[in-house]
């Protein structure tokens, strides 16, 4: 296990290198010019644009620009936003906890709803529970996030006024306040996770309950609960954990829309602004966070494999 962690740490730098260069390249391909925006929009004079350009070194060849960013990043300086001039590192450190909180809350919603649903339908495939769960997951998968958000807001925020419709309170300021403003976004994001987990868990439970070792568990006099939770679930968990790990990454990436709708000052909206403004340091900075987060979750997932299936050894 120690070896596993060390090996992973070793790979962080190369992976970041690859990812950041890919981000850089692709972003260069996306149409748009930060200089034009900064110089005052479409009706800026060419002189003004040229001035901004040379100030920001945007006339250098791409590779030089990337090299410069890399040089700074290597010593821990993620640079300043082209657009606002603020330190990217500072912005990220302020916004990351916000998004992380949202992701964790959404993941919890996903687990709390998805796992019981998946188990219930896996235990009785083809029965009413199964059909009901499938119907629910279908809704979770078929209703677009933006729509779901609107429905939730109109019901819980506008009609019943239980939760605020938008805005954000830091968790350190007031936990209850945080909880209130995070609930609707978390549910919006979490239902998709719940639907996915429930589908995958159903399949895994159906298969696991059909094995000879589960028969042994019945033969021992196992209760329905012990057979399900001790014997079937541990063996069924592997694909579900994989999916959960993937979903965590997706949550981070797809927080954009929800953060926009609920005006939460998280990484997603920061990233979106960066992309539309062609703000390279911002996009790169956020991408680094995403990559590190993803590598961390996939390490956790791989570690869980060795526990869930003692025969599996992961490098």
């Amino acid at each position: 296990m120690v070896r596993l962690v060390l090996l992973r740490l070793l790979s962080v730098v190369p992976v970041l290198l690859v990812a950041s260069s890919a981000v850089f390249l692709l972003l260069a391909l996306v149409p748009g010019d930060p200089a034009v925006t900064l110089a005052g929009g479409a009706d800026a004079t060419p002189q003004a644009v040229a001035h901004v350009r040379s100030q920001l070194h945007l006339n250098d060849p791409l590779i030089v620009q990337y090299g410069r960013w890399l040089g700074h990043a290597a010593i821990g300086n993620l640079g300043n936003s082209l657009e606002t001039g603020q330190s990217v590192a500072r912005q990220i450190s302020e916004r990351f906890p916000v998004t992380l909180g949202l992701v964790i809350a959404a993941a919890l919603v996903g687990l709390l709803v998805g796992v019981p649903l998946g188990i219930a339908s896996g235990v009785r495939p083809g029965r009413t529970v199964d059909a009901g769960a499938r119907f629910f997951s279908t809704l979770g998968l078929a209703v677009p996030g933006f729509w779901l958000a609107i429905i939730l807001v109109s019901v819980f925020a506008v009609h019943w006024r239980i939760f605020p419709s938008s805005g954000y309170t830091g968790i350190s300021t007031s936990f209850v306040g945080w909880l209130k403003c995070i609930t609707l976004p978390a549910v919006t994001l979490g239902l998709l996770v719940a639907a996915t987990l429930a589908r995958q868990l159903r399949a895994a439970v159906v298969d696991a309950l059909d094995t000879p070792y589960v028969r042994t568990a019945w033969a021992k006099g196992g209760t329905r609960r012990s057979v399900l939770f001790r014997h079937a679930l541990k063996n069924a968990a592997m694909p579900v954990v994989t999916v959960f790990g993937i979903q965590l990454g997706f949550l981070l990436g797809s927080a954009v829309i929800v953060e926009q709708i609920f005006s939460i000052p998280g990484l997603g909206s920061y990233m979106l602004g960066g992309i539309t403004a062609h703000d390279l340091p911002v996009v790169q900075g956020v991408a680094i966070v995403f990559v590190v987060f993803q590598m961390f979750t996939s390490l956790l997932v791989d570690i869980s494999y060795t526990w869930l299936n003692p025969k599996v050894r992961v490098a």
Binding site: L26, L29, T138, P212, G245, G249, Y305, L308, A315
Partner: protein
């Protein structure tokens, strides 16, 4: 089998005893009929119907749609459903029904295209990483990590900037986003499948890695992957609307359901909520169809017998952990003479779903086990010993199995009437079981110790510590070396014999009254076997333990058991006290079995060496043994044979038990050397 099998028309030995000719052909046909049976299920037919409908609609859109999807009727925008516009109009007055039909084109194309592209990439990466592991896995998965973390927006924007925003480009963009997730999933599943013994078996055969990946790992990964595919298909329908939001959808006149939903949301959500309904419902129905179909295909892949014709109504199925009983009427058990039996099995009849309806695997099996007695259950391989033993604890899965007749009385209580709670208390405490295949029957993910402790703690309120001490003592009692260390070993780290002993220890954990042991000593060397036998005999003395001992080892059972039950082709053919059975077998099958014993000088080639046992469902009329029986008569070949008493606590299923004297055959040999067989060989 003397029957043409498939197109080859291969015929077996002339003396073989199959019943109906052309059965092979029927089996062949059945295999090709399988899809129809599958397609006829509502959970398959309905979603399939919907998808076909959508696709046909998309293909013939110009013929079907009532209006031109792009003609604007600005006088009637946002109309509700009506006679002129079946599903109303949108904010520009375009006919929604027609747009829906045309939109189906993109909405069907993009998901399938996307998922195919993503799968193609992910399968290569995932299978390679999962199969080879090591540094290949390390490198591929780090790339996948980067891919997973890559901001989808940047990717989508870039793809569209490079390629454009046609349907194909959108598909490519979405595929690039979902492929890493697929790859990771496939790799995770492949990692687990790779560790299964059958993969080792495949590589031992010499199969090339590619072949193993495609024919062995892929199908086993597929059972989980189908779910992901179904989700992705549905997700892509929606992702498209997300892209439309970024201005990346197909250029305006072309419609898709996703973009329709988006437009309705943007333009008329609050004023005309109806406008969300048509596209929303179309998307929801399609997603539901993908999921339902995905589940059905998946479940069909993994169910035991895909060709089987289900005989149980779907509602009654899947009673997890309890075999279904559907017997016509509960038989009144006659009071047995003498001491009451601990276990009384009467007329136990079990059916499995087969290709052409139910297959009768055991037919009216009856036997008794008295307290403190050891009863041997012997018989030809495949005659139904395991199935009968599992039925006693109601452990056969329904479907495919069902108990259709008879009774199983344990301490006077009919287990076929018992509910789950009652059965649970009997399992482990009253009756416990040692399974035939210890490796598969032990949970691979739990240590031996925790499985043993569980067996104790399910029935007794003891602390974890006390449970562990008991587990240790149990392992000691079955003579596993170094028991302390073995407690924390996983089943795959043990040798075959140790796993078997762990099973035995687990079965003895709660001092059961009856132990059903299905070939419990096959992987044990004779010294350990003797120790286990000793243990059982000791428990019999101290705890009055009764044992039903399924075995092929007649020598062992002759030393051990008080009584023997002989089965043939799903029926009990003889039950007798051990000594009587060996000295005077009452059924020709028993006699032949004894004569086939190594070292026994038999008076000619054994009857058993000729021909196969017909599989269940193809037993001959009359006495099932008659085709191989040297004593058969005309009358043996018709009707059905009944088990009848042939002496004190003896019964036999032979018409001629009175006339035949089979005693000479089974006499124990004077010397146990294989003189004749050994003599044929030249010693080096």
């Amino acid at each position: 089998m003397a029957e043409p099998e498939g197109p080859s028309g291969l015929t077996g030995p002339a003396d073989s005893v199959t019943t109906r000719n052309g059965r092979g052909m029927a089996a062949f046909m059945a295999r090709h009929r399988r899809p129809t049976r599958f397609l006829r299920r509502p959970s398959v037919a309905l979603p399939l119907l919907w998808l076909v409908l959508v696709m046909v609609g998309a293909a013939f859109a110009p013929l079907i749609s009532p209006h031109d999807p792009n003609v604007q009727d600005l006088l009637h925008p946002d109309a509700g459903p009506g006679t002129r516009h079946l599903l109303g109009t949108d904010d520009l007055g375009r006919d929604v029904a027609s747009r829906l039909i045309y939109g189906a084109r993109l909405s069907m194309q993009v998901p399938f295209e996307t998922v195919s592209i993503a799968l193609a990439i992910a399968l290569v990466i995932g299978l390679i990483a999962g199969f080879w592991q090591g540094w290949i896995d390390y490198v591929l998965m780090r790339v996948t990590d980067a891919g997973l973390a890559f901001p989808p927006l940047v990717l989508a924007l870039a793809v569209v900037a490079i390629l454009g925003s046609s349907a194909n480009d959108v598909a490519l963009a979405i595929a690039a986003v979902i492929a890493p997730g697929f790859a990771r999933f496939i790799r995770g599943q492949a990692l687990a499948v790779k560790q299964e013994s059958f993969i080792e078996a495949s590589s031992a055969i010499g199969s090339a890695p590619l072949r193993i990946m495609v024919t062995r790992i892929l199908p086993n990964v597929m059972t989980g992957l189908i779910v992901q595919i179904a989700i992705a298909l549905g997700g892509t329908l929606l992702a498209e609307s997300g892209l439309a939001f970024l201005g990346l959808g197909p250029p305006p006149p072309a419609s898709s359901w996703g973009s329709m939903l988006r437009e309705a949301y943007d333009n008329s959500l609050l004023t005309h909520p109806w406008s969300l309904v048509p596209s929303g419902v179309a998307i929801a129905l399609t997603v539901l169809a993908f999921n339902t179909l995905g589940d059905a295909i998946r479940d069909n892949l993994t169910t035991t017998n895909t060709t089987a014709k289900p005989s149980v109504p779907a509602r009654a199925r899947n009673r997890r952990g309890l075999t279904m009983v559907s017997r016509p009427q509960v038989p009144v058990a006659p009071a047995a003479p003498g001491a009451p039996a601990l276990l009384e099995v009467r007329d136990l009849t079990i059916e499995f779903d087969g290709e052409h309806g139910p297959l009768r695997i055991t037919d009216r099996v009856s036997f008794d086990v008295r307290p403190g007695r050891m009863v041997g259950l012997v018989g030809e391989s495949g005659c139904g010993k395991t199935v009968s033993s599992l039925a006693i604890l109601r452990l056969l899965p329904t479907p495919p199995a069902r108990i259709v007749g008879g009774s199983i009385r344990f301490e006077g209580r009919d287990l076929l009437d018992a509910d789950f709670a009652e059965m649970r208390h009997i399992r482990g405490c009253g009756i416990s079981m040692v399974f035939q295949d210890p490796l598969a029957s032990l949970n691979p993910a739990l240590t031996v110790g925790s499985q043993l402790v569980e067996a104790v703690r399910l029935h007794e309120k003891v602390s974890r510590k006390a449970g562990r001490d008991r587990a240790l003592r149990l392992l000691e009692s079955v003579h596993i070396p170094d028991p302390g260390r073995r407690l924390s070993a996983y089943p795959h780290q043990l040798s075959g014999g140790m796993r078997q002993r762990v099973m035995i220890a687990m079965a003895l954990a709660c001092y059961p009254k009856l132990l059903i042991a299905d070939e419990p000593t096959t992987a044990l060397d004779v010294t350990v076997q003797a120790q286990i036998v000793e243990l059982l005999l000791e428990l019999r003395e101290t705890d009055d333990l009764a044992v039903l001992f399924v075995t092929h080892d007649l020598a062992l059972i002759s030393e051990l058991s008080d009584e023997i039950v002989v089965m043939y082709a799903g029926q009990v053919v003889e039950q007798a006290p051990t000594a009587d059975l060996f000295s005077r077998p009452a059924h020709p099958y028993t006699a032949a079995l004894l004569a086939a014993q190594p070292g026994v000088r038999s008076p000619g080639p054994s009857a058993l060496l000729a021909g196969h046992v017909p599989p269940a469902g193809h037993h001959p009329d009359g006495c099932r043994f008659h085709p191989r029986c040297p004593y058969r008569e005309e009358a043996c070949q018709i009707g059905s044979m009944e088990l009848s008493d042939v002496g004190p606590s003896r019964s036999s299923r032979c018409r001629r038990h009175g006339e035949l004297d089979l005693s000479g055959l089974g006499e124990p040999p004077a010397v146990l050397h294989h003189a004749d067989l050994a003599g044929q060989r030249d010693e080096p």
